[in-house]
Amino acid sequence: MRGRLPLTATLLGCLVLLVVAMTLGVAVGSVALSPGQVWRVVIDHLAGHPHNSVADSIVWQIRLPRVLLAAVVGAALTTTGAVVQVLVRNSLADPYLLGISSGASVGATAVLLFGALAGLGLWAISTGAVIGAFAAMVLVFAVTQRNGHLAPTKLLLTGVVLSAMLSSVTSYLLFRANPQATQTVLFWLLGSFGNATWQQLPIPALVLLVAMCPLYAQSRGLNALAAGPEVAASVGVDVPRMRRRLFVITSLIAGVAVAVSGIIGFVGLVVPHIVRLVVGSDHRRVLPVGALFGASFTVIGDLLARTIVSPQEMPMGVITAFVGAPTLLVLIRRRPHLYGGAE
């Protein structure tokens, strides 16, 4: 189509951006490394003969898993954000809207404060978050569905109301806890990749890869659904079934992402908007470009989170909201017809 960059060129550009962002993410820090050093360590490891050096342990043990996890979570949040926006036909929606994040918060807070699931060690927080997220998802689904139909407005409203309720549970737990524990919980609630390890990577990466396939395969259906449920039905899409599927898939991805990173706000809201402005609304472009761009966005965000107030770390959610909110405001001002200001 004229007026748009070819998809391959766009994807290639995003891939280059991601590689640069990730290289920077690994190279920059309290011990600065050159991109060459970074890649040498990576290549050595991939070739199977790693060297025992300081650079090696910094790159391979500390920074690389963190950067990779940031990339996976960024891709996951952007993908789910774009899909949830279509699911509820509202461009203000984000992956946390449907109660996932607040459910995860209750689960993680319970683990952090009361040592629930302590037997699971390192995995306790993630497991608590996943259980909370999925419990919230089931609850939202159960309240909203009627004969298997998920009405978008009802879904949105149920998600918002349930989130408020679950947030009050989290607040109550925090209120009852001691101040040190509260600090830990607050840090988790605002999102961070500070505890990233190689062990955390496979599950979210696998979930994202596996879940991307059915979403991508339904891009045409997503386009039709974005144009309206009746349009989708008229071109042969089984709308109720598609909505159920989208709901379950996005909840799964978002739940797993929240479990490993806490609640990183705004990525899933802003990045799909930026991507749609650049590549249009065709989800065959939005999904792959969004995944790559979202990954770069989060990797750079994490880099800022580590370096801005070094040696301390800022929570991710602070960075993403601080960068994301003004970006969205600019978009709203520049493209009023997209945001209900044309009349």
Partner: protein, 266 residues
């Protein structure tokens, strides 16, 4: 050919469409008339499977529509529905390309055929030059024509239109119906404006409270008693001075005519 036979639809235990039978011959434009809430939209929704009829049968060229898989049905019958809200930005060509959905497997890319179909669909509604414009920048009339092009891109012989002239200025109302009447496919259109229906439709069905209360050529159906029965409105029906079709003239409660005179002081 679209054959709706004795179709009834219930929503939440309430009968919305009651034993409706509508026949659309090949290549004809048939109007579905009736006041708000008479069941027009609901009846149309059974044709694109948003509503399931509780009773009755729907056939396309003799084939049972309701037994067809959704994708197959979407290759036979296309719809321009009423929900024209646009949440996301898209170019006109992208909007029309949505019409190709039932012809494409999951990951199949758009090929030259698809692009040709999109362009020729846009040409048929006179919007070829709009292909790269954002759908948000179009006028109401242009937008409606683009939605018709999307339905045409489905490559169907049957078309359903739910109030295609709603919210349009008179110029666009006529323009859209001229285009629809010239398409040469079987069209069933719910229409609000009885005079326009009289002007363009080959046949009309008049609905009231879920039932078809009259059908036939516009001149036979659009009559003073029928309009009173269906709409509860007291109107005059005159003959269109150029086309001889029925034309509605609304009346005021007081029947006295005020004759303007040249000497009326301003």
């Amino acid at each position: 050919m679209i054959d709706i036979r004795s179709v009834s639809v219930e929503i939440d235990g309430k009968t919305i469409v009651d034993n409706a039978t509508v026949h659309v011959p090949d290549g004809k434009l048939v109007g579905l008339l009736g006041p708000n809430g008479s069941g027009k939209s609901t009846l149309l929704k059974t044709l694109y499977r948003v509503r399931k009829p509780g009773a009755g049968r729907i056939e396309l060229d003799g084939q049972d529509l309701l037994a067809m898989p959704a994708r197959d049905a979407a290759r036979r019958i296309a719809v321009v529905a009423q929900d024209a809200t646009l949440e996301f930005d898209a170019t006109v060509a992208e909007v029309v390309m949505i019409g190709r959905t039932p012809h494409k497997k999951g990951l199949a890319r758009d090929n030259a055929d698809d692009h040709d179909t999109v362009i020729s669909a846009l040409e048929r509604v006179g919007c070829a030059e709009l292909a790269d414009r954002s759908i948000h920048t179009l006028s109401g009339g242009e937008r409606q024509r683009v939605f018709i092009a999307r339905a045409l891109a489905q490559g169907c012989d049957h078309l359903v239109l739910d109030e295609p002239t709603n919210h349009l200025d008179i110029r666009y109302q006529v323009e859209v119906l001229e285009i629809v009447a010239a398409l040469g496919v079987s069209v069933l259109a719910a229409l609000h404006d009885l005079s326009l229906a009289g002007l363009f439709c080959d046949a009309v069905y008049l609905m009231a409270e879920g039932r078809v209360i009259a059908d036939g050529e516009p001149a036979q159906v659009i009559t003073v008693p029928a309009v009173r029965a269906a709409y509860g409105a007291d109107v005059l029906v005159v003959e269109h001075p150029e086309h001889g079709t029925p034309h509605l003239v609304p009346r005021r409660a007081s029947a006295t005519r005020q004759t303007p005179t040249d000497s009326t002081p301003i």
